[in-house]
Amino acid sequence: MLLTTQARMTSRAAVPALRSPGSRRLWLGLLFVSPWIIGFCGFYLYPFFATLYYSFTSFTGIGNPTFTGLANFDALVHDATFRTALFNTFYYTVIEVPFSTIAALGLAMLLNMNVRGQAFYRTLFYIPSIVPVVASSLIFVWIFQPSFGIVNALLADVHINGPAWFFSITWSKPTFILLGLWGMGQPMVIYLAALQGVPKEMYEVASLEGAGPWQRLRYVTIPMISPIILFNVILSLVLSIQYFTQAQVIESPPGSPGNSTMFYVTYYYQQAFQYLHLGYASAMAFLLFILVLIVTVVLLKTSSRWVYYENEER
């Protein structure tokens, strides 16, 4: 249908109205967000795709990469040290995540009790988590020094011959797990906030119904803070799978003794910066992304069975 002149003039008059003020607000918003977008693109998106690209190449960081197809991934399958790194990471994650979750939650529950000096205790347990990781790792080296460390000295006082901790193939990973507890101040604070968000009336009702402390914990506390538990568990899982700094700082050479502390990221750092196998390391990095993604998706998918959101109906 042909527009009449009047209709066309009307539609033209209407066009300027479409450009403002809504679209102007949109552009302004985008402008304010653009630094983050640029940073995200530059420091996350680009490296991600670059890593994916390099994983199909042979590249030393100098000169141009050579396309090798799936050779890096094939080599990973046959790499015994890669399997060792996977196992060590799995070992650490499977023990550290539940251990630290239970410890942090338990500590938060204790710190949630109305006792004298509550603020002091909360500060005391939180402070270790703000100590820089490298500094705390070096301190732990001395605390757990088999010959001169305080831990073995205290054990010797009770006639226990302390192990070699970081220097022992058997005890090295458990020692790193103990070191991981040093940083549980952050999840503890998050759990503490969640605990304080649980309505007291629910506990009163539960008590009136005859629920004991364990039943209140199991049927009131845990469900009410389950979203926070899920969040902390996912965070803890991701960090554990990417465990690196402490192992790199403490063990010399990294991975010792006997590759017992050769974690996934430790190995791909070694491949990238010691052996100059950037393509191979990129393949490992990409596989790590897939692994973390799978773990996170599985956890989120199964969370509906045990995570309770206040607004949902069951």
Binding site: P65, S147, P257
Partner: protein, 459 residues
């Protein structure tokens, strides 16, 4: 059905963010240079110098502790005697030195000269990370290769081409604690491997479950395992006809592996812990031997020349040195040391080479002969040893002659630099631990070394 959102506005609601995202991505890619970013070699890097006619070069090292003072002296001396070249020195932590060098090269801004541990030079040369020095071996420098000790020259060559010049060579011998020897009722230091094993067995002390004194353990500490003891067994370069590592079929390597396996009477973890505890102090210049807690130690001249006088002077009169007993029939050492390289893309490479040659002592024997004693370093050339200052040092410290004599021994050999040297060294260290922990037999450990060092392991 009427759509309440005006059509033009609906189109813009996704177009604008998409356009902004695309622009951001393009800007970021342009800034980073894209996936196949190659190093942008500055054309000015080959220029003679600045507008003042002075070539500015940077020198990076990974040394720490007392050595830094020496480096400053060397730089001052070079700058005062070479008015057309100006050197600026900086040092970086050794733990991240290699990664930093790689980053600098990739960024197109490497130092002109970098002092590197020579075992990694093979892979650097193979990857084009460092420049060949062959173009500069002309004129005054045409005699440089013959001037060096053969093992010093071998340590800087990759496939017959010179890539690095030595700054300080290492030579290894057996230190012994005189008072511990006497306390154990031993009249003279060991001259055979069997004697060494028997003597050191008498010097271990454990009190209350805690290790207090170490006899000797070749599987523990910084200078441990296959790599460091290979020359004493003739097991340094075990290759097959295809040029692959072949330790599993090398009789000398099997002898060495079985010898290493012998030292298993005390938990490796305890010995490593004690070594690490002492090594963590004094900038790494301390160890149980310096502290007087170890009967025998296989180490270099710096132990007696620098570490002991600085960290524990009371040990200065309490140690002796003999050639490490081995199976090759004469004193030997393996050619290894700190070498100066010219990274790819370095500024003023010719000036950098001049400085590297000067640091090695070429045409600079007199000054170098005064510096090497202070660092406890073995020289790159016999010409330096002949200098009065070096001779005076040897006369004042006769124990040093053991180290110097080995440099020209026909049994001394430098490991052949390969493109997988790092993997090889890591495999050697792991294999040593496996033998000490009894998680692998000596033969299995040798097979592991071959498998790891020869594997392509991607790229």
């Amino acid at each position: 059905m009427t759509d309440n959102i005006p059509r033009g506005r609906r189109v813009r609601s996704w177009a604008a963010p998409a356009a902004l995202l695309a622009t951001s991505a393009v800007l970021t890619l342009a800034a980073c240079g894209g996936p196949a970013a190659s190093t942008s070699t500055s054309t000015s890097s080959t220029s003679a110098g600045s507008s003042t006619g002075v070539a500015d070069i940077t020198w990076q090292t990974m040394w720490s502790g007392n050595t830094l003072t020496l480096l400053n002296q060397m730089v001052a001396e070079f700058n005062s005697t070479h008015p057309t070249i100006h050197v600026t020195e900086s040092n970086i932590p050794s733990a991240t030195g290699d990664a930093k060098l790689l980053s600098e090269i990739a960024a197109g801004d490497p130092p002109s000269v970098f002092t590197e541990w020579n075992p990694v030079l093979g892979e650097y040369a193979a990857d084009g990370t460092i420049q060949s020095m062959a173009p500069y071996l002309t004129g005054t420098y045409s005699g440089l290769e013959k001037w060096e000790y053969p093992i010093a020259l071998q340590g800087g060559e990759y496939k017959g081409t010179l890539y690095a010049l030595p700054m300080s060579m290492n030579s290894w011998a057996l230190y012994y604690n005189k008072s511990m020897l006497k306390a154990a009722g031993i009249s003279s230091p060991p001259t055979t491997l069997a004697q060494l094993y028997a003597d050191q067995a008498k010097e271990w002390k454990i009190s209350g479950g805690k290790l207090e004194q170490i006899g000797f353990d070749p599987d523990a500490g910084d200078n441990a395992g296959f790599e460091y003891y290979g020359s004493f067994f003739g097991a340094v370069n075990c290759f097959n006809s295809a040029g692959q590592y072949s330790f599993e079929t090398c009789p000398a390597a099997a002898t060495e592996a079985n010898w290493l396996a012998q030292y298993d009477n005390y938990p490796l973890s305890d010995v490593e812990a004690m070594q690490a505890a002492y090594g963590a102090v004094a900038g790494g210049d301390d160890d149980p031997f310096v502290a007087g807690k170890m009967g025998f130690d296989m180490d270099g001249p710096w132990e007696g020349a620098q570490n002991i006088p600085v960290t524990n002077p009371s040990m200065s009169s309490n140690f002796g040195v003999v050639a490490f007993p081995g199976t090759v029939g004469q004193p030997s050492t393996f050619g290894q040391g700190n070498y100066n390289i010219i990274p790819k893309g370095a500024a003023n490479p010719r000036a950098a080479f001049t400085f590297a040659a000067w640091l090695a002592g070429y045409d600079n024997e007199t000054f170098t002969s005064t510096i090497d004693p202070k660092g406890g370093w073995m020289p790159a050339s016999p010409s330096i040893v002949k200098q009065p200052a070096y001779q005076a040092w040897l006369k004042a410290n006769p124990w040093l002659n053991v180290f110097v004599d080995q440099m020209s021994s026909s049994a001394s050999v430098a490991p052949t630099l390969t493109a997988t040297e790092s993997e090889f060294e890591t495999a050697e260290a792991t294999a040593t631990e496996d033998i000490a922990e009894r998680s692998k037999t000596p033969q299995q450990a040798l097979a592991y070394i071959d498998q790891q060092a020869n594997s392509a392991a991607g790229g």
